[in-house]
């Protein structure tokens, strides 16, 4: 493969790793705010390694939710990685034991990098380079965020309280933006989820309203015809 294509792929992969790594600090801080210790925050970043699910788990715990509600919302958000895996199999063709390692790095960013690569060889390179840089930085910044947040007090704690909902908004935002497939429908579903959650907050056990908000997916309506699905 041409050297320029290789270096462009590597540059994109590492650049995305650095950008995503910053989310890691926010996650570490959110985990600390929710009452997790540094080891628990690290375990999530090392083993779970999928940002939205990690934020959801600590978000639900932070809101006083049960273990079941926290795990449930993390798993619901994790289902999209299953779909990503299906899309990546033809590109990466992971064989035997390598499948177990490859699976660990199947996330939004590595999927986007691999699918955008011009050929299979570069797709593998993008997956590996992106996965490695994101994994390394995500875990380093998780520790920094968790340790840093544990030292906060007074107005700095109020700042952290305001950062957590803003981090969820930042995770949601790209789906609502023009250019994302069916952005208008995504907006309707997101607003529906917010309304359902707020309406249920006074009456259901903490955390359950987040899981119950999946009913808002019904606002998306029926699947489109097959040719539009791609």
């Amino acid at each position: 493969m041409p050297r320029s294509a290789r270096s462009a792929t590597l540059r994109d992969a590492v650049g995305l790793g650095v950008a995503v790594g910053l989310y890691g600090a926010a996650f570490g801080a959110a985990a600390d705010a929710a009452g997790l210790n540094v080891w628990q925050a690290m375990t999530l970043s090392l083993v779970m390694f999928t940002g939205a699910s990690q934020f959801a788990l600590v978000g639900v715990l932070g809101a006083g939710g049960s273990a079941l509600a926290a795990v449930g919302s993390a798993l619901l958000l994790g289902t999209r990685n299953t779909v990503y895996g299906v899309r990546l199999v033809p590109l990466l063709k992971p064989q035997g034991l390598r499948r177990f390692g490859t699976a660990h790095w199947v996330i939004d960013e590595t999927t986007a990098l691999s699918l955008a690569a011009p050929d299979r060889g570069l797709a593998r390179l993008a997956f590996l380079a992106g996965g490695a840089s994101i994994y390394l930085l995500w875990n380093l910044t998780t520790v920094a965020g968790a340790v840093g947040a544990a030292a906060l007090s007074g107005p700095a704690l109020a700042a952290l309280d305001a950062v957590v909902p803003a981090a969820f908004l930042a995770l949601l935002w790209p789906r609502l933006r023009k250019g994302f497939p069916e952005a208008a429908v995504q907006r309707r579903v997101a607003l529906g989820g917010a309304v359902v959650a707020l309406a249920l907050t006074p009456i259901v056990p903490a955390g359950v309203q987040v899981i119950a908000a999946v009913v808002a997916v019904a606002l998306a309506g029926r699947p489109r015809a097959r040719e539009e699905a791609a």
Partner: protein, 105 residues
């Protein structure tokens, strides 16, 4: 929540999410590529993240609460609309939350 239960939550969530990833590389594509399944998976993140924004920004326990977090969300929304980098969005939201705390606390 006890320390043991918290650890169990962390480990169960982490292993469950890993198994969901592994399933994608292991099950026949046709199982996952049903139009209804694809539709659900496409929209679950929007519903849950919308709910989490609302719960994290506007509630405390069983109560609806308006405080610096909502101001921070507003500031974050403006920054995101202006395509500010992620770190700038979070710093602005945090600064807004801290300012409200100082002014009202």
């Amino acid at each position: 929540m006890s320390g043991t239960l918290l650890w169990a939550t962390v480990v169960a969530g982490a292993l469950g999410c890993y198994l969901l990833k592994l399933a994608g590389l292991s099950v026949p594509a046709a199982w996952v590529e049903q139009p209804w399944v694809a539709r659900l998976v496409d929209f679950v993140p929007a519903a849950l993240l919308g709910a989490l924004v609302a719960v994290q920004g506007l509630t405390s326990g069983h109560d609806l609460v308006v405080d610096g977090r909502l101001v921070g969300l507003g500031v974050a929304a403006v920054a995101l609309a202006l395509r500010a980098p992620f770190i700038v969005v979070l710093l602005l939201a945090g600064a807004a939350g801290a300012l409200v705390e100082i002014l009202t606390g």
